[in-house]
Symmetry: C2
Subunit: 306 residues, 2 copies
């Protein structure tokens, strides 16, 4: 159990062109944990209401997810309702009810404070800072954020950046954060604010890892069928951090490999509603998916123009 | 001189957030030729009006572009006027005047009919077919098209597909052509209509090569400064076909390398207005840019989950 994640555990109601579900397990910490748990033990910190289907949540323990840090509080669980366009390229949020998540104050159990790898999911920057204050010298801290915090808590978010090693956001978020529409300049800006590395998630196009003086591009796995994109970005982060936590490899090469694991996890997440896409993903299946990135990206570049 | 291109030679008037020009050299055949000529000799077929700056056009001969197939006809040259959004992500066509291009009937000089590699630029499918009727057993034919022909001359375009080896289009075009929003399914559909290979250009995200049972993703070169995206797709095609024509390598591995040359050429095209981005691009500069894709995409994927 060397990876800790703090974030939302929610109930999602989703409509895609292919189907509709109500109140299925969702939330950034949930998607992250399920993906990461294919690679390492995960400690999840979150809060749910007294209406949450605890049997379904507890069933995830069997995957190697320690849920003892997910508190159950009186009141309603965080609920999100969304509908995707016919081509899944855009989505509309129909309803967001924070419920008990509005009063979430993450408390890290004493036994968790030594966890070496930490992912701060998309919560208020003040809460992200409060989590860091409770941790003892983690080896690597990564964080996510969203447009709402960039707008409403920018100064606090910049404080968070000073204390994290890796920012993982999507292209819209990094543009908004840096106030620059060019993602490569935006990434360099982020590197000047604290993190040594930044990952820009670009959905179906893949993801970009930027380090000082060096970039790596990992495409998305080519899928002919995408069922529900919800949680793909969180599963990507779970795969990336899960691989880093499993190997302890913080080298540039290690991070590149971790990107491929992230991309593979994103491809599983979108195959079904909720985390059902991970059912049947054995180590062999994961390994096969990861290996397929070799053929997808491999090219021998001639050393000279003959 | 083993590569022939048929397409538009135009005068572009362009406004980007960084500047504005009027009546500069443009058109798909022009961008294609300038990019390809860094790798091989190119024969261009097109038409311009009697108002075209022939001295500027003829200056391109020094690059190894044979312009004897570009006719000058009485009347106005093809003109396009466009304006880009602040982030270069979208553009508005303000004016299109076909001029002499409206009556373009490509006539391939006898000396050109044996050219082994052919690129049919974005012209009416009937004209693309007429070009093919004039060629003698080319080794590889590639073609482009656009939304206008997909709408207005779909049946003829499907005839073209039966006779080409490689389709090179952008993601919007392949979606419209296949009537499928998933580009991977769309690519498979194209392969069922004739071409053995299809390349999907995805702008700043890169490009995808799809062959039966195999895909290759080449990212765009990470640029912190993009000045004018006009012609990037045509320069990409020029780099790709230029490399194929130079090496004669039609293997899957050869095509993958060609994709990298295409991507490199696209990155030069966007650096300045018109074809000025190619000024100073020596073989050494090109080689350096191509090599940088190695670091951008290289990852050692572990053979087993240790």
């Amino acid at each position: 159990m060397n990876l800790l994640v703090v974030g939302s555990v929610a109930l999602d109601s989703i409509e895609t062109p292919f189907g509709k579900v109500d109140d299925v397990l969702g939330g950034s910490a949930l998607y992250f944990s399920v993906a990461a748990s294919l690679l390492t033990g995960v400690r999840a910190i979150g809060v749910v209401g007294d209406d949450y289907p605890m049997d379904q949540l507890q069933a995830l323990s069997a995957r190697g997810i320690d849920l003892s840090g997910v508190a159950q509080a009186p009141g309603e669980s965080f609920r999100w309702r969304g509908k995707y366009s016919f081509d899944l390229a855009s989505r509309e949020t129909l309803e967001t009810r924070l419920g008990v998540f509005a009063d979430f104050r993450p408390r890290i159990p004493a036994a968790f404070r030594d966890t070496p790898f930490v992912f701060l999911g998309n919560i208020h920057p003040d809460l992200q800072l409060a989590v860091l204050d409770q941790m003892r010298a983690p080896q690597l801290v990564a964080c996510d954020t969203m447009n709402f915090w960039i707008d409403s808590a920018r100064d606090r978010l910049l404080e968070v950046l000073k204390r994290v090693d890796l920012l993982i956001v999507n292209d819209e978020e990094i543009r908004q954060l840096s106030e620059d529409w060019n993602v490569h300049r935006a990434a360099r800006w982020v590197l000047s604010r604290g993190p040594r590395r930044v990952v820009v998630k670009r959905g179906e196009h893949g993801a970009l890892l930027v380090e000082p003086g060096r970039s790596f591009y990992c495409p998305a796995y080519p899928l002919e069928e995408v069922f529900d994109p919800t949680g793909a970005g969180d599963a990507f982060a779970g795969g990336l951090l899960g691989y880093v936590a499993r190997t302890g490899d913080l080298s540039s090469e290690g991070l590149r490999r971790a990107m491929v694991f992230g991309s593979a996890m994103g491809s599983f997440a979108v195959a079904r509603f909720s985390v059902a896409g991970f059912e049947g993903v054995t180590p062999a299946v994961l390994q096969h998916r990861v290996r397929s990135f070799k053929d997808l990206t491999q090219v021998e570049i001639a050393e000279a123009l003959a």
